[in-house]
């Protein structure tokens, strides 16, 4: 947790700095009326102060929780699920919802537990069918179709 807080603080300071830098080109205030840069800069300033306070309180933290177990299967499983979801998001517009969804669902289910394939096939197909019926047919929300 201590290291995690330090890493978070670095990102937060970077965010504050970026907001301050990017808002330098915004139009200025008109008289006493704040311009577009007023709020972002004020927020960045307060956030920087709060981050400093976090660093200060973090000095006395003795909590040494291990946030990630990089050797265990859990984090690898989560990363593979993320990668699969990202790939699905990009490919679904090309391959189409009906074709890609059951394949991705089955793949993810087998990643989570590589057993009981028949149950997982049925669950994948049923989920795809239900989602299609609810969104495309029931709610008239167009889902991605095969592009070719």
């Amino acid at each position: 947790m201590k290291i995690g807080n330090y890493v978070a603080a670095v990102f937060l300071f970077a965010l504050c700095g970026s907001v301050w830098y990017l808002s330098a080109d915004f139009p200025g205030s008109q008289g006493n009326i704040p311009g577009p840069a007023f709020f972002p800069r004020g927020l960045a300033l307060v956030l920087a102060l709060l981050t400093g306070l976090l660093l200060y309180t973090n000095r006395n933290t003795s909590v040494k929780e291990k946030l990630f177990d990089f050797h265990g299967p859990g984090i690898k499983r989560a990363l593979i699920m993320l990668a699969t979801t990202v790939a699905y998001s990009f490919l679904v517009n090309i391959v189409g919802f009906i074709l890609l969804t059951p394949l991705c669902l089955l793949l993810m289910m087998l990643i989570m537990e590589p057993e009981k394939i028949v149950v997982k096939v049925i669950a994948s197909v049923a989920t795809t069918a239900i989602l299609y019926l609810v969104f495309e047919v029931g709610l008239n929300v167009p889902l991605p179709a095969w592009s070719f």
Binding site: P36, P40, L54
Partner: protein
């Protein structure tokens, strides 16, 4: 007002809307019953379904999900000693003890009836109190709305639990995020990097789905839970009339506690449940038996947690301030339907508002019917294995985000915030403040700058109006109170760790 409520019932009592309400309650109960899925996540995940519907249908369905999910958590709390939602954490104490004694059926019956009573009481309070409060809020102008937004934002400290500093940091990050897009006064594009996708700001629902649903799904994928087996018999056991009589007073008290706590922004169903349980322990004739498996120990938290549902909607609808995390999501859903919560909602869309009241009342009726009739089925749902459930959640998140505007950009936003939410949970940064800030930040900036335009730059406009001063006072009390509560809690924990003070 009675006429409007009657008209609301006429609107909702249509087959299509009733079917959606029933579906919402059933989905809510299932989501609530499944450990790892919260009511907030369920409402966030299913909000995209409401886009293709008219406002009444969509909102009534969300209300059904809300009621069902808060109640549904008690099912797994009683059967497998794991609360399905945080709101059911107090129900575990006596609920599971009853199940171990072979009285799971009685416990589930009591949780259903108590939830119905609490929910119905708060729904009636909503229907009668909200219109009166809206009349007061009609006199609000830009300074009052700015003060209201600041009060709403101060709730960040309350909803941050033990991590007030991290909650404030998360809130300010959310405020910065809300600055992306066109400036509300001058129209100048801020932080858009020349990308037209950013001109209207970050879309709210993909952020919600990412932070609440995807991050939780990642955490579930990382920590695989073992398959759940339920070996308790829940067939046909109802409490006797003598047992029910002992719980009536507790249910009434719990309903009132839940409704009041629901009205207080940010104090949610979990707080209400524990406060009610604590009150029951203090005042019950069976106080010494609480914790060993008594029906009062189920009635108290369940009546309170569902009592929050109507109460939390009072500040949401009348002032645009969410009463808890779920109503924060519903605020986004309302705005996406083109309805701006606040006093004008009662003036311009009274038919929708009163239909919502009728929907909430009927949702509780459906919850009672499905809860009593479908308990065995819902008990089976808890046994759905995580390897099947988690991938479905991922796909539903993608489809839900895509369905907003049919843009892959929104899916990307959802995934980015899913990863951010996952790291936030790991580092113990509360997530709800980001959502609250994203909603209230634009309002705060717009009303501040509009007020300064009206007053030609003078800050006196904020200090010469009584309602504004009252709201600023409440803001200070909210922040200071939360900080003091956290310090007290830390000192108590330190003293207990040193063995100096007995536990409560």
């Amino acid at each position: 007002m009675a006429e409007l409520l009657l008209h609301g019932f006429e609107t909702v009592l249509q087959p299509g809307i009733l079917a959606l309400l029933a579906a919402g309650v059933i989905c809510g109960i299932i989501i609530g019953a499944l450990p790892g899925l919260t009511a907030t996540m369920g409402v966030a995940l299913l909000t995209p379904l409401t886009f293709g519907m008219n406002p009444v249908s969509g909102l009534v369905m969300l209300v059904g999900i809300y009621c069902g999910a808060i109640y549904g958590g008690s099912i797994s709390a009683i059967l497998i000693r794991t609360p399905g939602t945080p709101a059911a954490a107090a129900t575990v104490i006596d609920g599971h003890e009853l199940a171990k004694k072979g009285e799971a059926g009685k416990a589930l019956w009591m949780s259903t009836v108590a939830s119905f009573c609490g929910g119905m009481f708060s729904a009636l309070c909503l229907a009668f109190i909200a219109p009166q409060l809206a009349k007061v809020a009609l006199s609000f102008s830009s300074p009052e709305y700015f003060a209201l937004a600041m009060f709403g934002l101060s709730i960040i400290s309350s909803i941050s639990g033990d991590q007030v500093l991290k909650g404030l940091i998360a809130g300010f990050c959310g405020l910065i995020l809300a600055m992306i897009g066109m400036d509300p006064i001058t129209g100048f594009p801020r932080f858009t990097f020349g990308d037209p996708n950013f001109l209207s700001g970050i879309s709210f629902i993909p952020v919600l789905i990412g932070l609440f649903a995807v991050s939780e799904a990642f955490a579930s994928a990382e920590s695989m839970l073992k398959k759940i087996d339920i070996d308790v018999n829940i067939a046909g056991m109802w409490p006797s009339w003598a047992e029910i009589k002992t719980c009536i007073k507790t249910i009434i008290k719990g309903s009132v506690i839940g409704t009041i706590i629901g009205i207080i922004p940010a104090a949610g169903a979990d707080v209400a449940a524990f406060v009610s349980y604590g009150e029951c322990k203090r005042s019950s004739k069976q106080a010494d038996k609480l914790g060993t498996g008594v029906l009062e120990g189920v009635a108290a938290p369940e009546s309170a947690n569902n009592g929050v549902t109507g109460g939390a909607m009072i500040p949401l609808l009348t002032l645009g301030i969410p009463g808890d995390a779920v109503t924060a999501v519903m605020l986004g859903a309302l705005m996406l339907q083109g309805l701006r919560p606040g006093p004008m909602l009662f003036k311009d869309n009274a038919d929708v508002v009163f239909a919502l009241f009728a929907g909430l009342i009927l949702a509780n009726v459906f919850m009672l019917i499905f809860g009593l009739g479908g308990l065995k089925l819902f008990a089976k749902v808890i046994m759905v294995p995580k390897p099947i459930l988690v991938p479905i959640i991922f796909i539903l998140c993608v489809v839900g985000s895509y369905s907003i505007d049919q843009r892959v950009f929104d899916v990307g936003v959802m995934l980015v915030f899913g990863v951010i939410g996952y790291f936030m949970q790991k580092l113990k940064f509360p997530i709800s403040p980001v959502v609250l800030a994203l909603i209230l930040g634009p309002m705060a900036e717009r009303e501040l700058r509009t007020s300064l335009v009206l007053s030609q730059g003078s800050l006196d406009i904020f200090f010469t109006r009584p309602i504004t001063l009252l709201l600023f006072g409440l803001t200070v009390v909210s922040i200071v109170g939360s900080y003091i509560a956290q310090v007290r809690k830390q000192k108590k924990a330190q003293a207990q760790a040193q063995g100096g003070c007995p536990a409560d």
